[in-house]
């Protein structure tokens, strides 16, 4: 049990070290490739707004790139239509390691579409997702928070929320 404890500790230390390295590499300059796997384009509208002067994504060290080979982070929207699955895998493979996959919006998280002959009903079956951003569509503020969570600059705070509230509704 002691050896098990030590090796668990060693793994934890290594993963913390890796997390810090990735945070240092990605924390100040991160290039994003967006991938639409059959979304209604609302998510794309919100993502586009991130680069507008009001939100000004670049000030935080994030940039959009059209080439997966230049990207560090893959932002995936839509329910992963079957026809796009191959292209999604190729895009993922083309991004150099280390890379982060962010599933964006309720469709990508598996909420809106059931898996059927035409769609996988979510991104997780095709790509290894690291960060999940809910919303339909997620607002630019929610996307910003998601990106900062993805690079380790903000903590995941949703795990502490319980969405239960006693007393009079507001």
């Amino acid at each position: 049990m002691t050896t098990q404890g030590t090796s668990d500790q060693a793994v934890a230390d290594r993963s913390e070290e890796l997390r810090r390295t990735v945070a240092r590499l990605f924390g100040r300059s991160l290039h994003i490739r967006t991938l639409d796997t059959g979304s209604c384009a609302s998510c794309e509208q919100e993502i586009r707004l991130l680069a507008a002067p009001h939100y000004d994504l670049q000030r935080l060290g994030f940039f959009f790139t059209p080439a997966p080979r230049h990207a560090d982070l893959l932002m995936v929207t839509g329910p992963m239509v079957a026809a796009f699955e191959n292209a999604a895998r190729k895009t993922y493979d083309a991004i150099p390691d280390p890379k982060v996959v962010v599933a964006t919006g309720a469709c990508a998280l598996g909420g809106v579409y059931q898996p059927d002959a035409f769609t996988r009903g979510g991104v997780a079956g095709t790509l290894p997702v690291d960060v999940w951003i809910p919303g339909c569509p997620p607002s630019p503020l929610a996307l910003l928070q998601g990106l900062l969570v993805a690079v380790g600059r903000l903590a995941d705070k949703v795990q502490d929320l319980d969405f239960a509230r006693n007393g009079t509704p507001r």
Binding site: W132, G135, L141, Q145, V149, F163, A164
Partner: protein, 112 residues
């Protein structure tokens, strides 16, 4: 090579921290619902599950299982049961694990 290019390559080009100031538009965003466990009964929970268009709600025994990731904040559950639901006001919902978005809400109304 100019000095600022070297500095930018080494340190990145972050110019501000986030958030620089609170965003006034945040109060207007549609947000997922919060539920009142003291009012929710099994019957009411079943009604909410039936009314949800995106499969965000399910019932598991004496629990209402709320998948925040699947919620589209459409407001149908709020319209169906305004006494048992409220706007959560939470929009910064990014999670590092899918399970973090699954919330289990006890149905406390049945015990009264």
């Amino acid at each position: 090579m100019p000095l600022w290019t070297l500095r930018g390559l080494r340190r990145g080009i972050v110019t501000t921290r986030y958030p620089a100031r609170p965003d006034p538009s945040a109060a207007l965003l549609p947000t997922p619902p919060a539920f009142r466990p003291d009012v929710l009964t099994p019957g009411l929970a079943d009604r909410l599950v039936a009314v949800c268009p995106s499969r965000a709600l399910a019932r598991d025994g004496n629990l209402l299982v709320f998948d925040v990731g699947a919620c589209t904040a459409c407001g149908r559950c709020r319209a169906a049961a305004p006494e048992a639901t409220a706007s959560s006001g939470e929009f910064e919902l990014a999670a590092t694990a899918r399970e973090h978005l699954i919330k289990r809400i006890p149905l406390g109304g049945s015990t009264r």
